[in-house]
């Protein structure tokens, strides 16, 4: 299926990706090509086959609900682009 430019711009918005207006046409044709190619799955008779939910059959483990980690605020903020004490700094989002 051929994607419209507005749809590609909308996907970019959802994905929080800035895309230059000049790149939209190329992206449009590349994504359309990839989607047209994956759409061959429509011809597979999937009947009542269940979707795969676990690659290797196994039961998920349970553990005691106790604290096993923590108190590492210095490590957590060590790579932050901007920080103040033990806080991540972002632009003001609430007026």
């Amino acid at each position: 299926m051929a994607l419209k430019k507005e749809i590609v711009a909308q996907i970019a918005k959802l994905a929080r990706l800035e895309v230059d207006e000049s790149d939209l046409d190329l992206m449009c044709s590349e994504l359309s090509q990839i989607l047209a190619w994956v759409e061959q799955l429509e011809e597979v008779d999937i009947g009542s086959v269940p979707p795969m939910t676990s690659v290797i059959e196994m039961d998920l483990k349970f553990r005691e609900d106790v604290v096993t980690d923590g108190n590492q605020a210095d490590d957590v903020i060590a790579n932050a682009p901007e920080r103040d004490h033990h806080f991540f700094v972002v632009p003001k989002v609430i007026e």
């Binding site: 590609v8 996907i11 970019a12 918005k13 959802l14 994905a15 929080r16 990706l17 800035e18 895309v19 992206m27 590349e30 994504l31 090509q33 990839i34 989607l35 190619w37 994956v38 759409e39 061959q40 799955l41 429509e42 597979v44 999937i46 086959v49 269940p50 979707p51 795969m52 939910t53 690659v55 290797i56 196994m58 998920l60 483990k61 553990r63 590492q72 490590d75 957590v76 060590a78 790579n79 932050a80 682009p81 901007e82 991540f88 972002v90 632009p91 989002v93």
Partner: protein, 496 residues
């Protein structure tokens, strides 16, 4: 021990034995491999060399040895794909968005390696976020394959995404490296570079601390020059980890003890669907030859069918981008990594991610976002997961008749650097033989088995049922000894 020349090009097993006999030390090995890295920097295979850390770790290893504390990889130099978080050592996933990121924790796989005594020589280059089959998508420059075609000197792709790991091992810069494989990212570069690459069963190695691409497919594995070394390295990497709920609590066998290579009574399947249109005759011939080697070694060759093979790639290119778009949502310029500042938080996200991710990563995030968006989830993602069940079931049925499956690793030899970049789908077709087993979570190994008509390496792939790595290593040993692959690349580390 002075003659470093004898230390470059040794296998892990030979290094282990040499240190045991006191012929050389871990520090000797580290020094030789630091010099080796310097001699082939034009390959671009390391993002970061860590010589000081290597010497420090080697000295600690020698100290342990003097106290008779000897791990299974004691003193062995290894390169680590830059997808594994290494405490205090920059880790980038070859992306601008993580340029300068220094983890404050160590991945479980590398923790296991250091506990076994291994020595880190550096962080290997790769495709950005492990998305690619050419090593052209790295923010830190592309990697060159150390092999050249006969008669021309044009740079050849090492494959990807673990292309730096495969190139380093092929060029004798290290005897082994870690890789990760999501749809063929260990096996395809191993085939292109003439080395052994192994993807274990999903859940065999912990994914904790490995930067996530597609969580239901990602799996760590070894890249080495011999099958024995792959067995040694995997044993050290593997094991249950409470920090990864999909890591499997099954004891890790001593794979090296399983390398009998005894093929008698073994049933080897040849899937007819892997004869794809336009496959060069040299690939087909090598495949037939490989089957013949195993037959003459005592195996029974059986034709099998994996009927949904042709749907594996489109299935993969829905599931992997969907998981990637979700996993990569964390790169927001707030907690770590690149930030392109703006007064508006939404705009800051968009600018940061627009500048931080390369073209292929953006393409996959876009595809993933689209197939998961409201109204399309059932048509794309859910359908793909159903087809994935059919693909896994194909293998289940085949393994009622055979013990192992033999296929080519790639549908063609390594291409030139820069080829196929214009056409994303043509690039995706590289992984046609490796993706099906990834979707089914099965262990598979690529063994260098021959040369193309212009002298580039070609690999054969073996696929086994889940947790049958011992069978895989044993058949791979037989294949390796029949192939007798002794050719060396054009560019190898200088002996000093």
């Amino acid at each position: 021990m002075a003659a470093e020349e004898s230390l470059i090009g040794l296998s892990i097993a030979e290094m282990r034995d040499g240190m045991r006999l006191g012929e050389f030390t871990a520090v000797d090995l580290a020094e030789a491999h630091i010099a080796a890295a310097e001699s082939v920097r034009e390959l671009g295979a390391y993002i970061l060399e860590t010589p000081e850390r290597a010497l420090e770790m080697a000295a600690a290893s020698d100290a342990r040895r003097s106290k008779n504390q000897i791990g299974t990889l004691e003193g062995i130099p290894l390169a680590i794909k830059d997808l594994f978080c290494t405490k205090g050592v920059g880790t980038t996933a070859a992306s601008r968005i993580l340029d300068g990121f220094v983890p404050s924790y160590e991945s479980s796989v590398t923790t296991n390696l250091w506990r076994a005594g291994a020595v880190m020589t550096g962080k290997a280059n790769m495709d950005e976020f492990a998305m690619g089959s050419s090593n052209m998508t790295s923010y830190f420059g592309h990697v060159q394959n150390p092999w050249r075609r006969v008669g021309d000197n044009q740079p050849v792709t090492p494959g990807g995404s673990s292309g730096g790991s495969a190139a380093l091992v092929a060029a004798n810069v290290v005897p082994g490296a870690t890789g990760t494989d999501t749809g063929g990212s260990i096996r395809q570069p191993a085939a292109f570079c003439g080395v052994v690459g192994m993807k274990p069963t999903y859940g065999r190695c912990s994914r904790w601390g490995i930067i996530a691409f597609a969580s239901s497919l990602d799996q760590a594995g070894p890249v080495t020059r011999t099958v024995r070394d792959a067995a040694i390295l995997l044993r050290a990497m593997a094991g249950h980890d409470a920090k990864d709920s999909t890591s499997v609590d099954v004891a890790v066998p001593d794979y090296e003890a399983e390398l009998s290579g005894d093929m008698r009574g073994l049933r080897v399947g040849i899937p007819k669907e892997y004869r794809v249109d336009g496959m060069p005759s040299e690939i087909e011939e090598l495949w037939l030859e490989g089957a013949d080697w195993l037959r003459r070694s005592g195996a029974e060759i059986i034709d099998i069918s994996l009927p949904h093979t042709q749907y594996a790639l489109p299935t993969y290119y829905i599931i992997a981008p969907a998981e990637a778009s979700s996993n990569l949502a964390r790169y927001d310029g707030v907690k770590y990594g690149l930030r392109i500042a703006d007064d508006d938080l939404q705009v800051q996200y968009e600018k940061t991610r627009g500048a931080g991710f390369g073209a292929e990563v953006k393409r996959r995030i876009m595809i993933g976002t689209y197939v998961l968006s409201a109204g399309y989830y059932d048509a794309y993602y859910l359908r793909a997961q159903r087809v994935r069940s059919l693909i896994a079931d194909d293998f289940n049925q085949a393994f009622e008749k055979v013990d192992v499956i033999l296929t080519p690793t790639t549908p063609h030899q390594a291409f030139l650097l820069g080829e196929k970049l214009e056409d994303p789908v043509a690039m995706y077709l590289n992984d046609v033989f490796t993706v099906p087993s990834s979707l089914a979570g099965l262990p598979a190994i690529s063994v260098p088995s021959g040369l193309s008509d212009n002298s580039l390496p070609l690999g054969l792939q073996l696929i086994a049922p889940a947790f049958r790595e011992p069978t895989l290593f044993s058949v791979a040993t037989s294949l390796e000894s029949c192939a007798g692959f002794v050719s060396r690349p054009t560019i190898v580390a200088k002996k000093t």
